[in-house]
C-alpha cells in the first residue's frame, strides 16, 4: 500500500499533464481564463508553445480544440464543468462528439463541492449532459491516484473524453499496488454479499469509510469504484445485482442523468434489482463550505452508512 495522501484531483490532473506532455508533443492545453483553478498553469510554464489561452469564450475554445484535433493534436479543453460541459454543450456535441474528434473536455469544480460560489457554479448536470452525447467517454476519477491513471488513459484513447475534476482535497483510496485502470472497467474496492454500493468520483472515499464502518458492525457491503460512468461496466453491475441484491449508487451529481440512472437502466434491462440512488435530489445547491454542503446533502460516509442500514433493516 502506498502512503495515503490528501489532494484534490485537479492537482494530479495538472501534474500528470505536465508529465505526459514531456514525451507526447501532440498534447495541447486550452484554457478559458482559469489556468490556475484548473491546475494547468504549470503545463503552460513548461510548454508555452502548446498552451493556448482562449480567454472567457468557452464555446470558441471547444471549437478551436476540434480544429486542432482534426490536424492531429490531442487537445485538453479545460474550464469549470459548468462552462465546458454546460455552456459549451452544443459545441461539444456538434464540433467534437459528432465528428468523434480526439478532444478531451475537462470539467473542473464539478458538483456542489465547489462550495461557497453557490448554485450558478455547482454543476450537477455535467455527467448527464456528457453521457447523452453518442460516443463520449465519461470519466470521474475518485482520487489523485486514479486521476493520474485516467489522464494517461484519456491520452491513449483516440476519441472524445469528458474528464471530471474535483476542487476539494480528498484522501487517496486507490493506492493498492495491484491497481489497474481501464476505461469502462469498474474497480471492486471491498468484497461483500449483503448489498452493493457503487460510488463515483469524490464519493468513493466517503463510501469506503461507510463500508468499513458497516463491516465493523457485521454488515458486508460490496463497494465498486465506478470511475467510468460511460461506457458503464455493465458486467460488474449485473454480477453485483445477482450476488448481493440491492444496489446503492452514490454520486455528487443530480440523481437525474448520472451514475444512478445509468445503473438503473442497466439493471432494468438485464437483471432487475432494487436500487437506491444517492446524489443531489433534483435541486439546486447553495453557498457554503464544501464539506458542510456534502453533509447537508447526505453525500458523506455517515449518509451512506445510514442509507444502507435503512435498506437492510
Amino acid at each position: 500500500m502506498a502512503e495515503i495522501v490528501k489532494k484534490a484531483t485537479r492537482e494530479s490532473f495538472g501534474e500528470t499533464l505536465v508529465e505526459l506532455g514531456r514525451d507526447n508533443q501532440d498534447i495541447v492545453v486550452l484554457v478559458a481564463d482559469l489556468a490556475d483553478a484548473t491546475k494547468v498553469e504549470n503545463f503552460g510554464k513548461a510548454y508555452p508553445d502548446r498552451f493556448i489561452e482562449c480567454g472567457i469564450a468557452e464555446g470558441n475554445m471547444v471549437g478551436v480544440a476540434a480544429g486542432l484535433a482534426s490536424c492531429g493534436k490531442i487537445p485538453f479543453a479545460t474550464s469549470f464543468a459548468m462552462f465546458s460541459a454546460g455552456r459549451a454543450f452544443e459545441q461539444v456535441r456538434n464540433s467534437v462528439g459528432y465528428p468523434h474528434l480526439n478532444v478531451k473536455i475537462v470539467g473542473s469544480h464539478a458538483g456542489i463541492s465547489v462550495g461557497e460560489d453557490g448554485a450558478t457554479h455547482q454543476c450537477c448536470e455535467d455527467i448527464a449532459l456528457m453521457r447523452s452525447i453518442p460516443g463520449m467517454v465519461v470519466l470521474n476519477p475518485a482520487d489523485h491516484y486514479e486521476m493520474k491513471a485516467a489522464v494517461k488513459a484519456a491520452v491513449e484513447y483516440k476519441g472524445p473524453v469528458y474528464l471530471r475534476l474535483g476542487r476539494l482535497a480528498v484522501e487517496s483510496c486507490n493506492n493498492n499496488d495491484d491497481y489497474s485502470f481501464e476505461i469502462g472497467k469498474g474497480i471492486t474496492l471491498r468484497e461483500g454479499s449483503d448489498i452493493t454500493v457503487i460510488a463515483t468520483g469524490l464519493m468513493v472515499g466517503e463510501a469506503i469509510k461507510a463500508v468499513d464502518s458497516l463491516a465493523a458492525q457485521g454488515i458486508n457491503a460490496r463497494l465498486i469504484d465506478m470511475h467510468t460512468v460511460k461506457p458503464l461496466d455493465q458486467e460488474l453491475v449485473i454480477k453485483a445485482a445477482k450476488e448481493t441484491g440491492h444496489i446503492v449508487t452514490v454520486e455528487e451529481h443530480n440523481i437525474i442523468g448520472g451514475l444512478g440512472e445509468a445503473v438503473a437502466a442497466c439493471l432494468c434491462e438485464n437483471c432487475p434489482a432494487p436500487l437506491t440512488r444517492m446524489g443531489v435530489k433534483d435541486v439546486f445547491g447553495h453557498s457554503g463550505p464544501a464539506v458542510d454542503l456534502l453533509k447537508e446533502f447526505g453525500l458523506c460516509a455517515e449518509g451512506i452508512e445510514e442509507t444502507v442500514k435503512k435498506i437492510l433493516k
Binding site: R50, N60, V64, G67, P75, Q91, S95
Partner: protein, 279 residues
C-alpha cells in the same frame, strides 16, 4: 484574369448551380438560396484557390475549407463532385437514408469535407483551430472558412475572430457570403450588422470587399489575402441570394425550401441554357 479562364470558371459555377438544384429537388428539402449565392465562391475556391488533391483528401499538407454556414452543403457537395471527390450521382441522393451526403456536412462520411458543421457560428472556431495547428507545426497550409451574413449574429463568430487576431493567424481567410437575407427576412431588419467592414477591422481583421459573383473581383480579394501578414483576412463578398435561378433571386423564402417539379424544370432549363452558352 483572362476571358478564357473567366468563362471556364463561369461554366463550372453553372454546373455547381445545377448540382445544387438537382440535390435539393431530389431531397425534397434543403437550402438552395445560400448555396446558389455561394456557388461562385465555391467554384473559385475549389478550382483556383485551394491546394488540394481529390485523390488524397486527407493529405496533412492540404489547404482546409470549413463551411461554417453548413446548411449550404448542397453547394459544397456540387463543387466537390465536380472537382472529383465523388461521383455526381451522389448529389441526387442528398439527404436520403444511407446517403453519403448528409443534410449538413459530415467530415466522417464525405471525402473532401474538413469539418462537420451546421450549428451556425461553430465552424469558424474549428477553422481557427486548424490555422493555429498549422502555425504550431510550422506548416504552410491555409484555412478558408465561409460564413453567412446572418450567421455572424452568433457571438461565437466574434469570439473566434478575436482569438484569430490575437494569435495573428494570417493563414486564415474568412469569406462572408453577404447576400443580405436570412430566414426571417432582410438581415438588416432582423438584427442589423452594418457596418460589417468596420466591425471586422476593429476585431483585428484585414478586410476586402468583393463582388461574390465576379471571379476577377474574387481573385483580387483573395490575392490581397495572400499578401496580408500578421492578421486574419476577411473578404466580404457581396452576393445575391438564389443567384442564377431567376425566380429564386433575392427571395428570402428560398432560403430553405425545395422546388416542386415545375419549378425544378424551370430552374434546370435556365441553368442548362447557361451551361450551353458557356460550353
Amino acid at each position: 484574369m483572362d476571358a478564357e479562364k473567366r468563362q471556364s470558371l463561369a461554366l463550372k459555377a453553372a454546373k455547381v448551380r445545377a448540382g445544387i438544384i438537382e440535390g435539393v429537388y431530389n431531397a425534397k428539402s434543403g437550402h438552395p438560396g445560400g448555396s446558389l449565392s455561394s456557388a461562385d465562391i465555391f467554384t473559385y475556391l475549389y478550382f483556383e484557390k485551394l491546394n488540394i488533391d481529390p485523390q488524397d483528401p486527407k493529405c496533412p499538407e492540404r489547404d482546409r475549407f470549413v463551411l461554417s454556414k453548413g446548411h449550404c452543403a448542397p453547394g459544397l457537395y456540387a463543387a466537390l463532385a465536380l472537382r472529383g471527390y465523388f461521383s455526381p450521382d451522389e448529389l441526387k441522393k442528398l439527404r436520403h437514408i444511407g446517403a453519403m451526403l448528409q443534410g449538413h456536412p459530415d467530415m466522417k462520411g464525405t471525402p473532401g469535407v474538413d469539418m462537420s458543421t451546421g450549428s451556425l457560428g461553430q465552424g469558424i472556431s474549428a477553422a481557427v483551430g486548424m490555422a493555429l495547428a498549422a502555425k504550431m507545426d510550422g506548416k504552410g497550409y491555409k484555412v478558408y472558412c465561409l460564413l453567412g451574413d446572418g450567421e455572424i449574429q452568433e457571438g461565437q463568430v466574434w469570439e473566434a475572430i478575436m482569438f484569430a487576431a490575437h494569435h495573428k493567424l494570417d493563414n486564415l481567410c474568412l469569406i462572408l457570403d453577404h447576400n443580405g437575407l436570412q430566414i426571417d427576412g432582410d438581415v438588416e431588419k432582423v438584427a442589423g450588422l452594418e457596418p460589417i467592414d468596420e466591425k471586422l477591422r476593429s476585431f483585428g481583421c484585414e478586410v476586402a470587399v468583393a463582388d461574390g459573383h465576379d471571379f476577377e473581383s474574387l481573385e483580387t480579394a483573395f490575392n490581397a489575402a495572400r499578401e496580408c501578414s500578421c492578421k486574419p483576412f476577411a473578404i466580404i463578398a457581396r452576393t445575391t441570394k438564389g443567384k442564377g435561378v431567376s425566380f429564386m433571386e433575392n427571395q428570402a423564402g428560398w432560403h430553405g425550401k425545395a422546388p416542386n417539379a415545375e419549378q425544378y424544370q424551370k430552374a434546370m432549363d435556365e441553368l442548362n441554357s447557361a451551361i450551353a452558352a458557356l460550353a
